[in-house]
Amino acid sequence: MTAIRDAIRSNARQYGMVMALAVIVILFEILTGGLLLRPLNITNLIMQNSYVLILAIGMMLVIITGHIDLSVGSVVAFVGATSAVMLTGWGLPVPVVVVLALLTGGLIGAWQGFWIAYVRIPAFIVTLAGMLVFRGATMIVLGGESIGPLPESLRALGSGYVPDVAGGEVHLLTLLLGVLASAALVASQVRIRARGLRYGLPVGSRNLFVAKCAALVVVVMVFAYVLAIHNGIPIVGLVLVALIVAFSFVMNSTTVGRRIYAVGGSEKAAMLSGVKTRRTTFWVFVNMGVLSALAGLVFMARLNAATPRAGTMFELDAIAAAFIGGASAAGGVGTVVGAVVGALVMGVMNNGMSLIGLGVDWQQAIKGLVLLAAVAFDIYNKNRVGTSGAARRRAAQRPVPPPGDGGSEPGAPPPAARATGSGRG
């Protein structure tokens, strides 16, 4: 019992968000009378939220480095507009346009990253300027009108499915991918645990571990089955899974990720540890630009048109997702998976509230309150875990003076900068 309590407590942030998501899903499943989790709706959920999810991943990195990006919505629109012109006006083939679009995004990111990292203008200002500049540029490119329809092969990115090999009632390839994903998940969990045991790292109890693996497999397989009895896996879903896995790996297991966290945690300390802080910040913004471009392509593909108002308010959705997912406004804290969970919380709420016929007016207000509540809960939790959790009690059992005079007093609130949204950015 205590093992479980300790495990939950030490991972309160992660579990808290996942549990909140579960509660919201169950709530709307009941409120909508079972509509929410119908296969068709699940597929819709993925497709509707794919671009915000893509943006949220990039935004998480930006926020971890202690910055913010307000321009992503405008970049989504701009990349969509230029791509549409290239496709329909110039008649360039789709693969070429995709590459050029991502390149455009990268260049935009480099432009903003240059001002932020090297000229040291606050990201808030640079990207606010970018928000206006690229929205304006979108309107110039489109001449105030929408461009559409688009070639079929591009539209697949927004609304296509992975084709089935067998072609029966149930989508076999999807189930197969589900099995493969489960196996990979379990294998990686086992590997991590084995390594933990080898190096004497804290690992949970064996039963808990088995339960966790079983739960993961069940979730993945149910998910795969639900998709399989509809149309199979959306192409954009595969893209998302690849992005989540890749970015989680980079942030958790590579020196690059470690340096990104370090820059956000304390830029000066990172610099004096040999981290090239400016270059790191610069590339984080380039990455954000590329992901914005990808989101722009997906959104345009789904809409089957490039419009001047595309991507409006996307930046706020992405930022909200990151903060709901546990990012800190002061930087240095946050996970890719957190951003994904945060984006899903927003997405499920959007979808669920629409299904029960709640107006956009109410939706906005409720989403705002959820954002505030999530961050407030997070901060409350952090204060409690930080000062009174099992950790503190264990520390007290040793003949160790409590962290004292010079440092933070036990029980004292953590630095306010962590708690408030003022931070940098």
Binding site: R195, G196, R198, Y199, L201, P202, S253, T254, T255, V256, R258, R259, Y261, A262, G265, S266, K268, A269, A270, M271, L272, S273, G274, V275, K276, S328, G332, V333, G386, T387, S388, A391, R392, R393, R394, A395, A396, R398, V400, P401, P402, P403, G404, D405, G406, G407, S408, E409, P410, G411, P414, R418
Partner: protein
Amino acid sequence: MTDTILEMRGISKEFPGVLALENVDLRVARGEIHALMGENGAGKSTLMKVLSGVYPHGTYGGDILVDGEVRAFRDIRDSEAAGIAIIHQELALIPQLSVAENIFLGNERTRGSGVVDWGRTIGDARALLARVGLREDPTAPVGSLSLGRQQLVEIAKALSKDVRLLILDEPTSALNETDSANLLRLLREFQGNGLTSILISHKLNEITQVADSITVLRDGRSIETLRTADGEVTEERIIRGMVGRDLDHRYPERTPRIGEVRFEVRDWTVDHPTRLDRRVVDGVDLAVRGGEIVGMAGLMGAGRTEFALSLFGRSYGRYVAGTLHKDGREIRVRDVGDAIAHGIAYVPEDRKELGLILDDDIRRNMTLAALGRVSRRGVLDPGQEVLRAGELRERLRIRSRDVFQRTGDLSGGNQQKVVLGKWMFAEPDLLILDEPTRGIDVGAKYEIYQIIHRLADQGKCVLLISSELPELLGMCDRVYAMSAGRVTGVLPRGRADQESLMRLMTAARPAGAAAPTTSEA
């Protein structure tokens, strides 16, 4: 029976899981300077927070009596109304506001109804500044003042509240010797006017100089109160009370094994980053041998930290001239990455801002400067990382639960050990230590000295920057003195003493008549 202004009786304060104070007694006589001493974590600051109402009445056990009456302070305003003012270690001044605005912050001189009376504000500020011996323009922004002067502004601020009992939490830890002496003289002067003060400090020599009585705390308990008037209050006596044992030697023994010159700096010159006419480091020549601990003495503003930072990958100011040689060959160090690659490490003075990422755990901090050692082609090996960090934690005797503890939750001494561990992990050849024991208690200091010795014994070069002359004399094989950006002399162990160093540190020109320089540098 002396007249008691303050009595704290049986104070206990519990934080969840930790008893920070246990039945602490403190009795302060009117008009005395009362020192409060103890290692980091002994509960000094907590006790003062109880007294000043930061922890309100009801959250602690025991009684606070002011002038013989039990008082229940709900917040700082209550305690200020009773004439108690506290000046924290970290100054609570707003750099952008003027001196006068800072002095009357929260206590503004107004013409009623919230309109600031600037005439009175400036006039009263000037009078208060005169009392603390500061001749500054009250309209100057506080940020433009030196740290020592800012400290005096804080005191003026306390005086503006008609303070009767002034609490100073490590007021001199960030000050140089002159400013410290000035501050202590001021305290004595106020004492003559009837002000009582409680002084928290780690500097034993200061305490024995000015304190009338000394209360020692250890592990949240009051151990004893010593009176200077009774005689027999020596530094050793206080240390014994603080650590609960005798500390025979404050500096560990070491037989230096000094090798060849490994690092040599020639004509190093650096300008201020924004004020181009200011030369901060001016033609510094310096050499460090393998296995040698070389000290750098200097007053605040002498340019020691600036020199070290600019050497460490040009992390400060504008590089003007100078070369750096390692093992006789010139090396180019243009950023911190280059410096680390050439085996140079710098442990900064400000460990919280510059040394650590406080939100990260011990492990992540320790490996940050040499991630290549725990990764392969950019992919980290988490097992190796934890293992290596764990080894260092053991070797440095860092007191923590494990390597996953947040460094922000560690005490000052343990934080410093993490920073040391980070650079030991990078396996440097030259380790520059900038005030490595500032704000650290006696016991941890000794351990850090031992670590430094071990590094030197392994043949590493150590450059030790310190503002505490006894530390330099006790630790170093040679000491360079700097003044106004220049090296004014270098003395080998045996020929260096406090007086000769102080003369060099205050010398205007290098190698003057009063400054014997050895030829070996």
